[in-house]
């Protein structure tokens, strides 16, 4: 009998201690990604951000990551389910998730939402946009240095403000390192995902004596693979693509979502979540020029990295005047610099780009 009593007592004590640990239950985070995760690209950089959270917080967070989530009712269903299950935070990795995210953040007071790449604002809702254009400026410098024909080509999806500011920064960077650069050529794919035309555009540029191609928001590594094959240099956004073009990779804007996400999760765990519109760049450790290769000499790489350090120190803004638009009209006066709002809403292309913007 004594034996049994002591057993029951131990069990009771154990169960008490188990309920005791319930106070330190991990902070639950739902993390939604639009595409399948591969080794490079938007979704995989987001996934890397998730891994950074797990490394930083360890057992204190529980990450539920769902990749390849359709952008329609599928995502709304998953988000609603997660919110109802009581996750503390939703991190949303696609533009299309933002409407539903704002709604849920308003409906559940205990739910914090961090949306990446959107523009909406709301209670319990923060948005994070990387300053892709900063790395694009640095890669533009690299392109200006590497080109022998002085002819550069950009493959882009749609003429959205974000795409325009990236393209402008790229061209300004190229013009800085190479004043003889010809008007930069552009192919608009009018699609987020079109591997065959991504490759064909690269070939088309090569046939027109372009020797550096910039793949702006690539759907696949197709342009990078094609550039290696064609023997022209390539720069790209989102990820270092060196593995696809070991000889021809010139520069990439490498994203790091970890630092900002760690800050946001910490805020939410401390009950001090801030509803802000984060525009994170080199200074925040969110983006950097990576995979600098090709024909760049050490001196040239140092020159590029020195500009990156100016960005990190906050002393250099690529959109500092004088800057003229395609038709020659002055857009930014000498000495003036665009503020973040104007950069995010950019609706013009700088002089030295040869394309048509839809009116």
């Amino acid at each position: 009998m004594h034996k049994w009593t002591s057993r029951i007592l131990t069990t009771l004590a154990l169960s008490v201690s188990i309920t005791g640990t319930a106070f330190a239950e991990p902070f639950k985070i739902g993390y939604l990604l639009p595409n399948p995760v591969s080794e490079i690209g938007w979704s995989s950089e987001l996934a890397a951000g998730g891994r950074a959270l797990e490394e930083h917080f360890g057992d204190k967070v529980e990450l539920q990551m769902i990749e390849n989530l359709g952008e329609g009712p599928d995502s709304a269903r998953v988000m609603n389910k997660m919110a109802a299950d009581g996750v503390g935070m939703l991190i949303l990795g696609s533009f299309a998730y933002q409407q539903e995210g704002v709604k849920l953040a308003a409906r559940y007071p205990d739910l914090k939402v961090v949306h990446i790449g959107g523009y909406l604002q709301g209670p319990n809702f923060s948005t994070l946009t990387p300053r892709h254009y900063e790395a694009a400026y640095l890669c533009g410098m690299a392109s200006g240095m590497a080109t022998e024909t002085n002819s550069l080509g950009v493959i882009a999806a749609f003429p959205l403000p974000e795409v325009l500011n990236i393209m402008n920064a790229y061209v300004l960077g190229a013009q800085r390192s190479n004043p003889d650069i010809e008007p930069v050529k552009v192919i608009w794919l009018n699609s987020w995902f079109d591997p065959a035309n991504e490759k064909a555009s690269t070939e088309s540029f090569a046939s027109q004596s372009v020797d550096v191609v910039f793949s702006l928001f690539p759907g696949t590594p197709a342009p990078v693979v094609a550039a290696e094959e064609l023997g022209i240099y390539v720069t790209v956004t989102h990820s270092d693509n060196s593995r696809f073009a070991p000889n021809r990779h010139l520069c990439a804007g490498q994203l790091h979502f970890g630092p900002t996400l760690i800050t946001k999760v910490q805020e939410a765990m401390d009950g001090a979540f801030q509803e802000n519109d984060i525009f994170a760049g080199v200074q925040d450790g969110t983006i950097e020029a990576a995979g600098l290769g090709g024909p760049l000499t050490q001196a040239q790489k140092d020159e590029i990295l020195a500009v990156q350090e100016e960005m990190r120190a906050g002393t250099f803004n690529p959109f500092t005047g004088p800057i003229a638009a395609m038709d020659g009209a002055e857009m930014i006066a000498a000495g003036a610099a665009l503020d973040d709002g104007a950069i995010k809403g950019m609706n013009f292309l700088v002089q030295g780009i040869n394309t048509n913007l839809p009116k």
Binding site: E39, I187, A196, K199, A200, S204, T220, A222
Partner: protein, 306 residues
């Protein structure tokens, strides 16, 4: 000049997936079976081909795996419509969705990876001819194979006895059966051939045209192939020309954009679809000829037991 050479030579590779898949669909439709699962067959065979090339490094094995995958999926479709006499449109769509799903599932771990491309063949002497040489005689092996297949299929359908039987079955299977032919067996063979061609097209797209795996990389090309059969009024040469035109206009619109020609890019992106439809509609404006070429029994199931 270099732009024209680029467009006219590049269009061959661009049109191969359309041409192969459309020709396969043509043979199936000529026997009276409308197989709408082309997109799914291409997607499944694209991933199978990619996996085999990634594993073995052999494009021949990859294309072969694609053909087997395409044929396999088409046999499932054939079983539904020929054996169980399911509605052809519904069964085609269902099998197509199955193919897309399987493709996404199998390709998960390959997402974003690449395989080595297949080198182009420079035909000795002929490729040295100015302009014509680089356009016609610097292509990969599948392009040449496609040209041969177009000619063989056109010859087979219209100049051989089995081709005539095939067409009769597509026009009136009851009469064909009464004359001692085997509509179900012939249709099975035609559907499987169509699947094989779609498989070759899909594997070509993922391992040679763009040797990169990404989910949904077939991106609607199967549907374009189905449309080409109709707009090409069920004539193999016209279908092949339509596919080539589609590829050429697509490349031309990219090249013109990069030259900075003052046309909105949206118009350029839509141009392959618009121009191909316009040209094929104009050359097949004669409605009598359309009625002559369209298989009468297309989409109708046949039962030998009445």
């Amino acid at each position: 000049m270099s732009v024209i050479v680029f467009v006219l030579s590049g269009a061959f590779a661009m049109c191969v997936p359309f041409a192969l898949a459309a020709l396969g669909e043509l043979v199936a439709e000529k026997s009276g079976v409308l197989n709408l699962s082309v997109e799914g067959m291409m997607a499944l065979s694209a991933v199978m081909g990619f996996m085999v090339v990634a594993g073995t490094g052999s494009h021949v094995l990859g294309l072969g795996a694609g053909m087997i995958a395409g044929a396999g999926l088409s046999v499932i479709f054939a079983a539904l419509v020929l054996l169980f006499r399911a509605n052809q449109v519904a069964a085609g769509l269902a099998v197509g969705i199955l193919g897309m799903g399987l493709s996404n599932l199998l390709g998960r771990s390959y997402e974003g990876s690449s395989v080595t491309a297949l080198a182009k063949i420079r035909v000795p002497v002929l490729s040295e001819i100015p302009v014509i040489g680089p356009i016609l005689f610097v292509q990969d092996i599948v392009v040449y194979l496609t040209v041969v297949l177009v000619i063989v299929i056109a010859w087979f359908l219209y100049h051989t006895k089995p081709g005539l039987r095939l067409r009769v079955i597509g026009e009136n299977p009851e009469t064909a059966y009464a004359l001692g032919m085997h509509p179900v067996a012939v249709r099975l063979a035609c559907v499987a051939f169509g699947g094989m061609m779609a498989g070759l097209a899909g594997a070509y797209a993922s391992t040679i045209l763009t040797p990169v795996w990404a989910q949904n990389m077939i991106a609607g090309r199967g549907w374009v192939a189905v449309a080409l059969v109709v707009f090409g009024t069920w004539r193999p040469i016209r279908i092949a020309l339509g596919a080539y035109l589609f590829g050429a206009v697509g490349l031309a619109s990219l090249s013109l954009q990069s030259l900075g020609v003052g046309v909105p890019s949206q118009v350029m992106s839509a141009s392959p679809y618009l121009l191909t439809i316009i040209v094929l509609v104009v050359i097949s404006a004669n409605s009598l000829r359309i009625r002559l070429n369209a298989p009468m029994a297309l989409g109708q199931n046949f039962s030998p037991h009445g």
